[in-house]
């Protein structure tokens, strides 16, 4: 029996589907859209003054300074504005209800797939205060995000890279599965403590991970030698990690946890991405030498846990110098919001302030372009989707944002957001 409030929220949810996700396939026509006259930050070369971006059929066809606009094209005047690729939030659990994040019954669940908890419809914060609609979160310019299945499981499962809007829940997928998500540090301990089981220490965390990865190696061998060996979904998922078909993303913030993550990747030979990485600068030379990329947690707020009051032993104090230190050492990094459920107040989180957060890394020797790469092309490369997104280049998806000022200024608004060539957000005039 639905209470009236439920019915209302269902109606709201349906309305939001209509607005934000119903991008009709038919509309991805051969009609050409030309965004003209702006400063184009392609993330694949020098900025183009007075540039034009031509899009057709959901793809970018031309980017340049002296571009002939075909007759009949829809022209968007971007004079005095900035045009750049849609932003990529490389770590979130946006769209996953807090009750569907973290399969807390088991600390090791590589078989889970985040896409099967993903539900971006409706108001976040329903029944709470200040609900934010998915469509409102577009106002920050994010067009693609990584969704993780967990933030406190030793192995949470398989994450996905999705567009924030599209014709349906299947068409939004860019890469799935995209990585195996793991967590080291306080979170798995806390989750286990409430159930009085392992891991109770960081030692147990690493031992449990090693044990299951050894088991996965044995499973691989067994399947090869005897193809009738019964299938095991968890082992199959870890097999993809061991065969380097998928990278392992390990959330590790303290210097010790980062060391453990690196040691695991060395022992089992998988590709590693460090998430959160508050103390990454402590290992910057090794990260650079081993080409291990880093997805940095929020600079303005590195506490990526679900706790309202974060654990001081877990996270070193905020340091906005880290990105510049990593850049100087040659470590590839993205900056992400790690947005996820936050109690009753905002079960949805938001990636809305990704640009503001990235901007705080400025002033330590990085150019604006270096900073913007951390939320566009570098994020795309780390997520393994740079063939489709992350820069403005012919043949790539037409994910384009138009801003009314320099992207890293607090005064700037994202005015238009295109995903696959479709306009999904325009700034409402106040």
């Amino acid at each position: 029996m639905m209470r009236p409030i439920r019915l209302i929220s269902l109606a709201c949810a349906l309305a939001v589907i209509a607005v934000s996700l119903a991008v009709p396939m038919a509309a991805q026509s051969e009609r050409v859209i030309a965004i003209k006259g702006g400063t184009v930050l392609t993330m694949a070369g020098a900025p183009i003054q007075n540039g034009t971006v031509l899009m057709r059929g959901g793809k970018i066809i031309v980017v340049g300074a002296n571009v002939q606009v075909p007759a009949g094209a829809e022209i968007v005047d971007a004079t005095g504005k900035y045009v750049m690729p849609g932003l990529i939030d490389a770590m979130t659990s946006i769209g996953i209800d807090s009750t569907d994040l973290n399969e807390a019954t088991d600390p090791l669940t590589p078989q889970l797939r985040a896409i099967e908890s993903y539900n971006p419809f409706g108001n976040f914060g329903e029944g709470g205060i200040g609900p934010i609609r998915m469509s409102e979160s577009f106002s920050g310019g994010v067009t693609t995000m990584y969704i993780a299945p967990a933030d406190s499981a030793l192995i949470g499962g398989q994450g996905a890279v999705v567009k924030v809007a599209g014709p349906n829940l299947d068409a939004i997928i860019v890469r799935e599965p995209a990585a195996i998500d793991m967590t080291l540090g306080e979170q798995p301990k806390k989750a286990a403590r409430s159930r009085n089981r392992d891991p109770a220490t960081r030692m147990a965390e690493v031992a449990m991970l090693r044990q299951i990865l050894i088991k996965a190696q044995e499973y691989e061998r067994a399947r090869k030698e005897k193809p009738t060996t019964p299938r095991d979904l968890a082992m199959e998922a870890l097999g993809k990690l061991l065969r380097r078909e998928l990278p392992g993303r390990i959330q590790a913030n303290s210097a010790g946890d980062i060391r453990s993550a690196i040691a695991l990747s060395k022992e089992f030979g998988f590709d590693l991405i460090i998430d959160g990485a508050a103390a990454a600068y402590e290992h910057r030379d090794e990260l650079a030498a081993r080409r291990i990329p880093v997805v940095l947690g929020q600079i303005t707020h590195p506490f990526v846990s679900n706790d309202e009051i974060p654990d001081r032993t877990e996270y070193p104090p905020v340091d906005e110098r880290t990105p510049a230190k990593l850049k100087a050492a040659g470590v590839k990094f993205a900056i992400a919001t790690f947005s996820r459920a936050f109690g009753r107040l905002a079960p949805g989180g938001t990636g809305k302030w990704l640009l503001v957060d990235a901007a705080t890394a400025g002033g330590y020797g990085m150019s604006d372009e270096d900073i913007l790469k951390a939320v566009t092309i570098n994020a795309a490369e780390i997520l393994g989707v740079s063939d489709r997104i992350g820069s403005l280049a012919p043949g790539k998806d037409a994910d384009v944002i138009v801003l009314d000022g320099p992207p890293l200024s607090i005064k700037t608004w994202v005015e238009r957001v295109y995903i696959n060539g479709e306009l999904v957000h325009t700034r409402k005039a106040k």
């Binding site: 976040f124 914060g125 205060i129 200040g130 609900p131 934010i132 609609r133 409102e136 979160s137 106002s139 929020q298 303005t300 707020h301 590195p302 506490f303 309202e308 009051i309 974060p310 104090p317 905020v318 110098r321 510049a324 230190k325 100087a328 947005s339 936050f342 107040l345 905002a346 949805g348 989180g349 938001t350 809305k352 302030w353 503001v356 957060d357 901007a359 705080t360 400025g362 002033g363 330590y364 020797g365 890293l408 200024s409 607090i410 005064k411 608004w413 409402k428 106040k430």
Partner: protein, 454 residues
């Protein structure tokens, strides 16, 4: 251990300095602690070599906790002059190419074409931006999470933040680096009344001197804090608060009666809770109320109408829906809950602007550690993004929180006679890309970016 030893030395040294004839107006009466420290001062003076010229007394004791950091321990210069910056005083329009003269830890003069006194230490800050040391009206800095809420008690006005303060918290140092020099830090919000906050500087070794106002406000928190006990509804919370306030009135009346009757017989039994709440009802203190929903905002306004206390709304999520009612009662609002951290609807994000338009005095807050203390200025910047004019946004992290916390005679703006707390930046204060270059507190250089490793 080493750090602690250094700290003790400095505390003791500060006590020695404080016994010099300071010009500071507010010499607090010597506490037991200070007397103890003074007795050890002679010993300390022999063991610490700090050059002191005759007459060059210390304007302020300045010690920033050193936990493997790069902070210099700097003693305040007698006279400083900072020349060439654009100064936002928070007390008038910005002054281009201005000079700030600091004398004995206080602002002596701010303006154009000032002559620099002979012997002053001169800082060339041409092209920089200077704003007052920022103030956060709602923080939990220095409090352990396990000391914030005495949750078994639904109403505990007798609890004092000062009794749970950790001066070794590394976040104090981060706060200084973020240009935050004064905070209101206190308990809450796990109880409906969680106790008394304090207004305190983020730097300095002498706790007693760091505190600007020990009556930092009585924390209320609207909304049920438990489903397991009374009150478990918004109605229940309103009734419980009203009932406690009435009991406080009765308590005050019983004491007045005893005094009016010539203090005959035994006095009424003392009750720390009612005593603390009586300070609210006599306007010696005020109510800082954690509140999100418009319904609870209205409940608070009703309670204020009934009991006449001074009220601040905190978080104030839906306060914009009652902007006129709030403005009419001259209630101030501490706003933009968790701005940079979580998603709030566009309406809520525009709330500070709407309140300001209606005439409500607003201040920003980080709710540290919910948002790290050092990013206070980003809260004001986000409000600017949603329409708040630049100077008003700056006031919301400087003079407005100081007025609300009743310490604007000391901090919040750059005016002669006020504490020399200010921040030197390399660009517009509101831009996230801008870096803080120097932070001064009581006229001493607390943070200098040029000494940081890159």
């Amino acid at each position: 251990m080493k750090r602690r030893a250094v700290m003790w030395l400095l505390i003791a040294f500060a006590a020695l300095a404080s016994s010099a004839p300071l010009s500071a107006e507010r010499q607090p009466a010597a506490t037991e602690q200070e007397l103890f420290l003074a007795s050890s001062a002679a010993f300390t003076a022999c063991t610490v070599e700090i050059p002191m010229r005759d007459g060059n007394h210390l304007a302020a004791d300045v010690y920033v906790p050193k936990s493997g950091d790069k902070f210099p321990v700097v003693l305040a210069q007698e006279v400083l002059a900072l020349r060439g910056a654009t100064v936002h005083t928070a007390a008038g329009p910005p002054i281009a190419n201005a000079t700030i003269i600091v004398r004995q830890g206080k602002i002596a003069e701010v303006g154009q074409n000032l002559s620099v006194p002979a012997g002053a230490k001169i800082y060339d800050v041409t092209g920089k931006i200077i704003v007052p040391g920022m103030m956060d009206n709602h923080s939990h800095i220095g409090a352990s999470p396990t000391d914030l809420n005495d949750t078994p008690m639904v109403i505990g006005p007798q609890h004092r933040a000062i009794d749970a303060l950790n001066l070794d918290d590394p976040d104090w140092r981060e706060a200084i680096k973020g240009g935050v020099t004064t905070v209101v830090t206190g308990p809450g919000s796990g109880e409906n009344v969680s106790g008394q906050a304090i207004v305190i500087k983020t730097f300095g070794s002498d706790l007693q001197k760091r505190i600007l106002n020990e009556r930092g406000g009585m924390k209320f928190a609207m909304g049920a804090k438990s489903r397991e006990r009374y009150p478990s509804t918004a109605m229940g919370v309103a009734a419980a608060l009203r009932s406690y306030l009435i009991k406080t009135q009765e308590y005050m009346a019983s004491w007045k009666k005893w005094e009016d009757e010539g203090k005959k017989g035994p006095p009424p039994a003392r009750d720390l809770g009612y005593e603390a709440m009586a300070e609210v009802l006599t306007n010696k203190s005020r109510v800082r109320a954690h509140v999100h929903s418009a319904t609870d905002v209205m409940t608070l306004l009703r309670l204020k109408d009934e009991f006449g206390f001074d009220l601040e709304l905190h978080h104030s999520t839906e306060a914009y829906k009652l902007a006129d009612e709030i403005a009419k009662r001259k209630v101030s609002a501490v706003v933009l809950p968790l701005g940079p951290r979580i998603g709030l609807s566009e309406d809520v994000m525009a709330g500070p602007y709407i309140l300001w338009k209606a005439g409500v005095r607003i201040a920003m807050h980080t709710d540290h550690p919910v948002i790290n203390q050092k990013w206070l200025r980003l809260c004001a910047a986000l409000a600017m993004h949603y329409g708040l004019p630049e100077e008003e946004a700056l006031k919301s992290v400087t003079i407005n929180p100081a007025i609300i916390a009743r310490v604007s005679d000391r901090v919040g703006s750059l005016e002669p006679g006020k504490d020399a707390d200010f921040v030197v930046m390399n660009g517009p204060w509101y831009e996230p890309k801008t870096r803080i270059e120097m932070v001064f507190g009581n006229g001493a250089l607390l943070y200098d970016r040029s000494t940081e490793d890159k």
